[in-house]
């Protein structure tokens, strides 16, 4: 038995020891039990938080059933996004085509739920039976007078990353269709999905600085806001993996500049505020940003110091969706005395992996598109104490006696912003210090 497959070697490097650049952005290896899902998954998670849109999944039932209310993306108003709609293709549809069924489904659902737009996701099967989704969407759009947008997402046509792209392309269709005047100092927040209400924490900071939020894409998202996104002066992009494409397109089409930020950890959160203030060249904003940071810092530090004392010397493994978030996590962990010994992501980029390599201590294992066999071997080798990942990583950690912090779609604790940093520290502390570990030794 062998944890690492030969063909996976190029996707694993060690900080300090390896000069080679990590290979990434590859399809998963057959049989490798990748933790990734598919193109459809990528598009679905990005678009899902748009709460007043209809999300109809065209395909057999599984794709829709497994993504029903899958993210804790909160909405302050409508919640159509929390429903799982499927054309539930049966054998006869596969044989004779599913177009009629799709059309009927769209019409009835739009009538019933009165969405402001509809996204129609095509899944694997649709990719091969050749339904003409485009024309059905056009037809229904004309009939119902709302945007009906196809999301081209058959799972086999790439990786989760291609799904991000498909989602951005669908959003692009909407952007620019609105005509709502924007106020001065308007930004769009891209790439925050309002998990556990995180977006609201961020909006509060920006508002306190005198910044107007034009659209949030897609956390607590609304069709109308997306349609008017082109009116903002700046795109502030988090989770760059999923939203960068849209930001770039908007720059090209509408001349809206963008900046990459992260809201995880004190350092990155503060930078996110300063950089926006600097962009608007406003001393007043900068002063207010500094005030926020000073205030939050004073509030947080004494607490964090306590956690740091307790956690000093603990080791963590990180395996998350994108590598950009991993960078923030490494820094945030460092702030509370935890050293990162394994870092990986499902869909990281070469640049970001390089930054990680520079940032981490010698010997840290960096891995792209890993699997349970590797991850369990890595945490054993590096003697990690805590794992930070998602639902699929949790049992790997717990089963062999590591603490765990959910930093994925399903988290119920806000982890962004200053408050989030405190929650994060608390959670790491809780999982590391629980008395139950004495029984697992």
């Amino acid at each position: 038995m062998n944890a690492i497959l030969k063909d996976r070697n190029s996707q694993i490097v060690r900080a300090g020891a390896d000069t080679k650049t990590i290979a990434c952005n590859k399809p998963s290896l057959a049989g490798a039990v990748s933790q990734r899902a598919c193109v459809f998954c990528g598009s679905r998670v990005v678009l899902y938080p748009i709460a007043d849109a209809l999300h109809l999944i065209h395909g057999p039932i599984g794709c829709a059933a497994y993504t029903w209310d899958i993210r804790g993306a909160m909405s302050s108003g409508p919640e159509i996004h929390r429903m799982s709609f499927s054309t539930d293709l049966h054998e006869k549809d596969v044989v004779f085509g599913g177009e009629k069924k799709l059309e009927a489904a769209l019409l009835e659902l739009i009538d019933k739920y009165q969405p402001k737009a509809a996204f129609v996701y095509s899944t694997c099967i649709v990719g091969v039976i050749g339904d003409d989704i485009e024309s059905i969407c056009k037809k229904v759009q004309a009939l119902k007078q709302i945007p009906v947008i196809p999301v081209h997402a058959p799972g086999f046509q790439g990786t989760k990353k291609d799904g991000y792209r498909a989602a951005c392309e669908a959003l692009e269709v909407l952007v620019g269709t609105g005509n709502r005047p924007a106020q001065e100092f308007s930004i769009n927040i891209l790439g925050d999905f309002n998990l556990a209400g995180e977006l609201w924490i961020l909006i509060d900071y920006y508002k306190r600085m005198g910044i107007h939020i034009n659209a949030t894409i897609t956390g607590d998202g609304r069709v109308e806001d997306v349609a008017n996104a082109h009116k903002a002066q700046l795109n502030v992009v988090q989770c760059s993996g999923s939203m960068m494409y849209l930001a770039k397109q908007m720059k090209e089409k509408y001349g809206i500049p963008f900046m990459k930020v992260s809201y995880f950890g004190i350092e990155d959160m503060s930078d996110a505020l300063y950089e926006v203030a600097t962009f608007f060249k406003s001393d007043d904003m900068l002063t207010k940003a500094k005030e926020i940071v000073r205030f939050e810092f004073a509030r947080l530090m004494p607490e964090l110091v306590k956690y740091k004392q307790a956690l000093q010397g603990k080791k963590a493994a990180i395996y998350v969706g994108g590598s950009f978030k991993a960078i923030s996590l490494i820094k945030a962990l460092r702030l509370i005395g935890v050293q990162t010994v394994v870092v990986g992501s499902q869909t990281g980029t070469a640049d970001e992996y390089e930054i990680i390599k520079q940032l981490c201590d010698e010997g840290t294992i960096i891995v792209d598109d890993s699997n349970p066999a590797e991850l369990s071997a890595f945490v054993k080798e590096t003697k990690a104490d805590i794992f930070i990942g998602g639902v699929k990583e949790r049992p790997i950690a717990y089963k062999i006696g590591l603490g765990f912090c959910d930093h994925n779609h399903e988290r119920k604790e806000a982890l962004a912003g200053y408050e989030g940093m405190l929650n994060f520290a608390k959670e790491i502390y809780a999982t590391a210090m629980s008395p139950v570990w004495k029984f697992t030794k």
Binding site: P27, A30, P60, G62, S84, S86, H90, V94, V128, S376
Partner: protein, 463 residues
């Protein structure tokens, strides 16, 4: 009621499905075979989603490989991906068995998996290669339960072979919890009989804590027992609906593993509903008595006695209450019968399954006493949601996905079966036999008492 039924007829789409897809059922069965790793022949997403769905319920590692179709694969066929996939799985897991389930995609493009397996075996002649089991599980032909039973049948049909006669009793226990499976094994041990429970994921999906990570967890039905199924003295099958939808559409000679063994190897088969409730459990214990010639061990007879005692102590809390029951067809069927036994009226019984026999089976088990009960096949949660107000239920019984409806109505829900994603300990819940019934009865009584207590101005201290 007329109105309610009409409402559902107008929806073409499925809104919040009350079913899952076929390879999930197959994966469960494969997890119940010793030394087995499942591989889903199709694109990556299906395998990952199924893993995630199962992990959230069992709170256990669930490794399922995928042959990870790409654009090229769908055009030129999955041969290369299949072989690479198998090679990689063997390299990492060194499994004794590889269970291969197809998906909508691989079936649609016409992948011939038996051929792929044959070719792989030829290519590796002389090597010790794993045992392959293959189940055809496109979801457009059926739900996870169809996939489940199809896989049980495939495994038995491909492995069972005649040899020396044995005293084995085959128990095909259907889709029950790990705790239920352990309980069946305990019963059989107490009877002192030789037996096979298949599939047995009681360990693999409910492991103790590990020192070292086990890529393939301990446990599962040994292949030798499945092979020996052909020589058994009898088979017992839980579930009367099973995979009727798929098997009839495939018009195969035998629909289930028990039937197949009876037809091909003359192993007598006894089919019964999932043993939930006293009457249904009696059938199971009586059958074991008949087959083995051994009376029910005292320990279990006393458990039955305590259950009767509990029924008496609790009967007034439940009598006349109205329940909404949903989930897999066989589970719903047995649950309705059990509720009938304790005086709870099921007002709506629904399932995403499409056998079209749920109503008939319910009528048979409840002597047609509930002509007004709404029984629905191919049902989704939104349809339930739209019907419940007029049905005035007191309690919901089903998997956790119905919680949002119970929440809206502010009524209690007792979570059973699969999935239970919003509560702890799903893998340890009992449903069947005297013990499972006892647990269910306690939970239902307490849910109703709690509801009453919380809505009482007094907050009384005694029940």
């Amino acid at each position: 009621m007329e109105l309610a039924i009409k409402k559902t007829e107008t929806f073409t789409s499925t809104r919040n499905a009350c079913k899952l897809c076929s390879p999930l059922g197959a994966s469960l069965v494969f997890k119940g075979i010793e030394g087995c790793i499942p591989m889903i022949h199709g694109s990556q997403g299906c395998a990952t989603y199924i893993r995630r769905y199962m992990i959230s319920h069992y709170k256990e590692p669930v490794d399922i490989a995928s042959s990870n179709f790409s654009e090229e694969t769908t055009i030129y066929g999955g041969n290369k991906n299949f072989c690479t996939g198998i090679d990689n799985v063997r390299h990492m897991y060194n499994p004794a068995v590889i269970g291969i389930a197809s998906t909508c995609l691989s079936e649609t493009i016409g992948e011939d998996i038996p051929r792929l397996i044959r070719e792989y075996a030829q290519l590796h002649e002389g090597e010790q290669i794993p045992v392959f089991i293959h189940a055809s599980t496109p979801s457009y032909q059926g739900s996870h339960m169809d996939g489940f039973h199809e896989t049980v049948l495939s495994a038995v049909a491909s492995l069972a072979n005649e040899g020396a006669t044995s005293k084995q009793i085959n128990i095909f226990s259907g889709f029950i919890s790990p705790a239920d499976i352990r309980y069946i094994k305990e019963i059989c041990d107490d009877f002192g009989v030789e037996y096979m429970v298949f599939p047995d994921y009681s360990d693999t999906l409910d492991n103790p804590h590990w020192k070292d990570y086990q890529l393939i967890p301990e446990g599962g039905t040994p292949v030798a027992q499945i092979q020996n199924a052909a020589n058994a003295i009898a088979s017992i099958e839980f579930g009367t609906i099973m995979n009727k939808l798929v098997s009839t559409s495939k018009s195969s000679v035998a629909h289930t593993a028990g039937e197949w063994l009876e037809k091909h190897h003359s192993v007598p088969n006894t089919r019964m509903p999932l043993p939930i409730g006293i009457e249904a459990s009696d059938v199971f214990f009586k059958t074991l008595e008949t087959i083995s010639g051994i009376p029910t061990p005292r320990h279990h007879a006393r458990e039955r006695g305590r259950l009767v005692d509990a029924y008496v102590d609790g009967h007034k809390y439940v009598f006349g209450k109205r329940a909404i029951v949903f989930g897999e067809e066989d589970m719903v069927l047995s649950m309705v019968a059990f509720l009938h036994e304790i005086g709870i009226e099921t007002v709506l019984a629904g399932s995403g399954g499409e056998s079209n026999s749920l109503k008939k089976e319910i009528d048979a088990l409840t002597s047609g006493l509930y002509p007004n009960m709404i029984v629905m096949n191919n049902l989704d949660f939104e349809t339930i949601n739209e019907m419940v107000d007029e049905l005035k239920p007191d309690i919901f019984i089903g998997n956790s996905k119905g919680y949002y409806i119970a929440r809206r109505l502010k009524k209690p829900i007792v979570r059973i079966g699969f999935p239970i994603h919003d509560r702890f300990g799903a893998q340890r819940l009992h449903h069947i036999g005297y013990r499972g019934t006892q647990e269910l009865f306690d939970r239902i009584v307490n849910a109703l008492i709690e509801y009453k207590q919380e809505h009482s101005p007094v907050g009384y201290k005694y029940i």
